[in-house]
């Protein structure tokens, strides 16, 4: 059990800077997910914590000790890899106990630990099998078991679920969460899947281009993204972005989306945006669930407009609708019972109480 701290950590490969000076504090017992598109530096960061990559600059601390020059085996960490990396010539039990055997633990202790981990992961009947006799999900469990028996200070997961099919992925996600709730080991988990990040993490670290864009709880990131990148990356379907301008009409702040569509801002939002330059190029960020079918009852901050639907996607519990506004495809989420038909006009409502206003030039959320 230990906290993990990164201070101005840089990784440079010849000319390319993969990680550009990141600071991160991970508390003891915390489950932190590093998420971002491929090439954002998340895996490199994880591998630097593991000691599999040297750090070019900065400090990494595990349990308060600087481990920059400490080899992986002395960092007391365990890692689960995307392709499981099980030793093919060893049985499940031998795979799990390899680390303990190298450290010359007593046989009885090794057996106890392996049995305990196997029970926790529900692989007791598989311990004598070889990896090639296991399914993908079972292999992933063994890989986790190998990490658990070591009882390390930190668990590192490198996209552990990417090789599994969608259904198994959901199942294993729950499994990982359960394991963490039981063993409470500090965990750093890397994924490119924002759903995995949201569902697993105590805190999510969104990375892009070798930098941290935002750190926060899943809800913070979803409801209060700091940048356009985070706003667009977190949430599925992604947030809609529409070019807009602020205008004063009759002494009240309005948002103009097109020549014809202008909405008054709700008071709280008007107050927040009153100092924004009226000439700045801005973007309105709105999640699909805040574009719905119009309700007969007027609600403050909810404005109605008409759109001709382009495509509809019935999902069962909801229907996704797509329409074009000023050349941009916009996604909304309506009640499955609403009268949504492709090619037909529909009266829609947008909830400006949940809007985000972004500076187009800087990408910052205002």
């Amino acid at each position: 059990m230990a906290d993990v701290t990164l201070r101005k950590v840089v990784k440079r490969y010849d000319e390319v800077e993969a990680v550009r000076g990141i600071d991160l504090d991970i508390a003891d017992h915390e489950f932190v997910v590093l998420v971002g598109p491929s090439g954002c530096g998340k895996s490199t960061t994880l591998r630097m914590i593991a000691g599999l990559e040297d750090i070019t600059d900065g400090d990494i601390m595990i349990g308060g000790d600087v481990v920059n020059d400490v080899p992986p085996k002395d960092r007391d960490i365990a890692m689960v890899f995307q392709n499981y990396a099980l030793y093919p010539h060893m049985t499940v039990a031998e795979n799990m106990s390899f680390g303990l055997r190298l450290k010359r633990y007593p046989k009885a202790e090794i057996k106890t630990r392996v049995d305990e981990a196997a029970r926790m992961l529900d692989i007791v009947e598989l311990v004598d099998r070889k990896p090639k006799q296991l399914s993908g999900g079972q292999r992933q469990r063994v890989a986790m078991g190998r990490a658990i028996v070591r009882n390390p200070k930190v668990f590192l997961f490198d996209e552990p679920l990417s090789n599994l099919d969608a259904k198994l992925r959901v199942q294993m996600r729950i499994e990982i969460k359960k394991v963490h709730q039981k063993v409470r080991t500090t965990t750093v988990y890397v994924t490119h899947d924002q759903v995995e990040a949201m569902t697993l993490a105590d805190r999510v670290v969104v990375m892009n281009n070798g930098r941290i864009e935002q750190i926060g709880t899943p809800n913070e990131l979803y409801h209060n993204p700091a940048t356009r990148f985070v706003a667009g990356f977190i949430g599925s379907p992604a947030m809609n972005f529409m070019a807009c301008r602020l205008e004063d009409v009759g002494g009240k702040l309005h948002i103009r989306l097109t020549d014809r569509i202008v909405f008054p801002l709700p008071p709280a939002r008007a107050d927040r945006y009153k100092n924004v330059s009226r000439t700045d190029k801005l973007q309105l960020g709105l999640r699909p669930e805040h574009i719905t079918e119009a309700s007969p009852h007027a609600e403050p901050g909810v404005e109605n407009f008409d759109a001709v639907l382009d495509v509809i996607e019935p999902m069962g519990m909801e229907t996704m609708i797509y329409f074009i506004m000023e050349g941009v495809e916009i996604c909304g989420r309506v009640n499955p019972n609403a009268d949504a038909r492709a090619g037909a006009p529909m009266r829609l409502a947008i909830d400006l109480n949940n809007m985000h206003l972004l500076n187009e030039a800087t990408g910052a959320v205002i």
Binding site: L52, K73, I77, F81, P88
Partner: protein
């Protein structure tokens, strides 16, 4: 009616397609068997001829009878060879040289391949190519400089290596180590990187990663390399011919040639018998390890 017509039309098309595919396959198989049979005959005739000759007396060999038939079969050639001390000495020398060379080769090339394939250090890629290039230099170019080196070494230290069977333990690895290293580099390279990373995180040293993960996982490759090293050292002719001359220091291929050809008299029956007996150990090893050998040759070609 219309729909029936459509179905009628499509059915034969499908059947024709299927039949033509199976016909293609049949022809492919026929050609394969034809050429394989041809090749088998081509490859098996010389050993068959050797076997036939080895069962004949010298008189029958030189008689103008059908060379493909044994009229008075005899095991005298076998008995003579197997009871002659000379032949057994050659056999012992060959066995000793081969076993030692295989051991030396494996002890050098496996760690070398592991280092070149996995421990990325400055110049490792160039070095790996260099190892392979060494293998491309023919022995006919090397034996003179090597001979000169041993002579100079003998003059300087007083240790005479020429005309001792164990000089071959130094010479043969120049042939086997580069090739075996190269095979093992390819084999080790096909092992996923995560496997050694997992081992390192589990607390294994480089040496433990090699002995407890890489060698067991790459066992088929290791066996292929072993067989190669054994075959090369068992069948090597030029180097022992150059470096050893006394009868008690000779290995089998050179021994048979130098002792059974006396001037212009060829003891064909015994030569053939010796060659057949000499071919037996590699044959036995191949037979036992064939499956591994084939796996070793093909694995590494695809990742998986």
């Amino acid at each position: 009616m219309t729909s029936t017509t459509v179905i009628d039309k499509s059915a034969p098309t499908r059947a024709v397609k299927l039949r033509s595919m199976s016909r293609d396959r049949t022809w492919a198989l026929r050609w394969s068997y034809f050429f394989l049979t041809l090749f088998a005959i081509f490859a098996l005739i010389p050993p068959l001829y050797m076997l036939i000759t080895s069962l004949k007396t010298s008189a029958e060999i030189s008689a103008a009878t059908n060379p493909w038939w044994v009229y008075h079969p005899t095991l005298s050639n076998y008995v003579e060879l197997l009871t002659s001390n000379q032949f057994l000495t050659f056999f012992r020398n060959s066995a000793l040289v081969s076993i030692f060379v295989v051991t030396i080769t494996m002890l050098i090339s496996v760690p070398a391949a592991f280092a070149l394939a996995r421990m990325r250090f400055w110049g490792s890629a160039t070095l790996a190519t260099g190892v392979f290039l060494t293998y491309l230099i023919p022995e006919t170019l090397l034996f003179l400089p090597l001979f000169k080196m041993f002579v100079v070494f003998g003059d300087l230290t007083g240790i005479q290596l020429i005309n001792k069977w164990y000089v071959l333990l130094i010479v043969y690895p120049t042939l086997t180590v580069p090739f075996c290293t190269w095979i093992m580099i390819g084999y080790f390279a096909s092992i996923p990187k995560e496997l050694d990373e997992a081992a390192i995180i589990d607390g294994a040293s480089w040496f433990q990663t090699l002995t407890r993960i890489f060698i067991p996982v790459a066992l088929p490759g290791l066996i292929a390399a072993t067989i190669f090293a054994f075959t090369v050292s068992w069948a090597q002719f030029l180097y022992p011919l150059v470096f050893t001359t006394s009868t008690d220091q000779l290995v089998l291929p050179v021994g048979i040639i130098t002792t059974l050809i006396k001037g212009d008299v060829f003891a064909w029956g015994q030569i053939m018998t010796g060659a057949l007996l000499g071919a037996a150990p590699p044959l036995i090893i191949y037979a036992f390890l064939m499956d591994y050998y084939i796996a070793g040759l093909t694995a590494g070609a695809t990742k998986g």
